[in-house]
């Protein structure tokens, strides 16, 4: 697996799997060993604040709702 691929898989898991996120934050090196991820990647992920992960998830939900939307007229008057 390339480093780019490994980094993307880890980042995707970090923002979608709360158990993985918790383990990475608790001990990035131990999480790297446990999940077979390059330690440089888990150390980078651990520096992302929980608030930013929440904002990313919030932004994602908003985009999902708009995409799925095609709701009846949302034109504000």
């Amino acid at each position: 697996m390339s480093l780019a691929q490994e980094r993307q898989r880890a980042l995707q898991r970090f923002v979608t799997d709360s158990a993985f996120e918790t383990d990475v934050r608790a001990d990035p090196l131990a999480a790297a060993a446990a999940y077979a991820v390059h330690p440089e990647i888990t150390q980078t992920l651990a520096q992302i604040s929980p608030a930013r992960v929440l904002a990313f998830q919030r932004s994602q939900r908003h985009k999902d709702s708009v995409r799925a939307g095609k709701r009846p007229s949302r034109i504000a008057r």
Partner: protein, 275 residues
């Protein structure tokens, strides 16, 4: 200064199709941008786009390419894009500089995954865009996305250089979303002008303007508010520096205002670009 007229227009949403087709005055906007994935499953919508295209030039935008996907881009998706583009005839196509799917066997991220834009990512971009260019005929642009995770860092100059390197590696033009730039700068504490000092100006073809909102202490690119003043100020900087800038598009995805409100923003953009 740009050497050609800069077209100003809107990102088309279904709610605006009927009002646009009913407009007698075609001079209120110069160009229309369609969201290509909306055309995949609706021939009726594509027919509407063709009618719009008979009145104004069309450009297209997408959200599901994932040009940074290390697993590679999806060929069936590219074929669908080309089918729509071939039907409606657009001047260029754009998508976001990001990854979307880290594993073909799992559901995609669903939003724009940030790239580190190191040599590993640039190798992926070069490989993927070669495949994109083999399928999609015409120019392709990549947009600087919002990065609410702050994954790419907070050094504005480095972020600008990385964007320039990415466009060069991919062999594509730039869609500079000045609102994404402004929001990233606020969240990460850098000066957006540092970013703009280091991008490849000769590659910038299009600008996006939108409105974001503050959520949980961070700015997200919600596209549900009018264009903010900082974005307007950044547009005036871009217009002075991008010699090949061809279009400025106002985006709104939610809390859609009446068409007239968006056209007033188009008119303001025209004032900034001197059209």
């Amino acid at each position: 200064m740009p050497t050609r007229p800069i077209a100003c227009g809107i990102a088309l949403r279904d709610e605006y199709i009927a009002p646009l087709l009913a407009m007698r005055d075609r001079t209120a906007l110069d160009i229309v941008e369609v969201m290509v994935e909306d055309g995949f499953a609706s021939t009726a919508r594509v027919r509407d786009w063709q009618r719009i295209g008979a009145r104004w030039p069309l450009i297209s935008h997408g959200t599901e390419l994932g040009p940074g996907d290390a697993e590679g881009v999806q060929r069936d998706y590219l074929a669908q894009v080309q089918q729509v583009l071939g039907t409606i005839g657009t001047q260029w196509h754009s998508d976001h500089l990001c990854f979307l799917r880290s594993d073909r066997d799992h559901v995609g991220l669903g939003s724009f995954g940030p790239l580190a834009l190191d040599d590993h990512d640039l190798h992926v971009l070069k490989r993927n865009l070669a495949e994109v260019h083999a399928t999609i005929r015409g120019h392709v642009l990549l947009e600087n996305p919002a990065d609410v995770l702050g994954f790419a860092g907070s050094d504005g100059a480095k972020l600008g250089r990385d964007y320039a390197r990415a466009l060069s590696a991919a062999g594509v033009g730039g869609l500079l979303d000045v609102t994404n730039l402004a929001l990233n700068a606020r969240n990460d504490g850098f000066d957006p002008l540092d970013f703009l000092q280091h991008i490849a100006w000769d590659r910038v073809i299009e600008v996006h303007l939108a409105g974001g909102r503050l959520a949980g202490g961070l700015w997200i690119d919600s596209h549900d508010h009018p264009v903010d003043e900082e974005s307007w100020a950044l547009l005036s900087v871009v217009v002075q520096r991008a010699p090949h800038l061809r279009a400025v598009i106002i985006e709104r995805d939610d809390r859609l205002p009446p068409l007239e409100t968006l056209l007033a923003e188009v008119d303001r953009a025209r004032g900034v670009v001197g059209r």
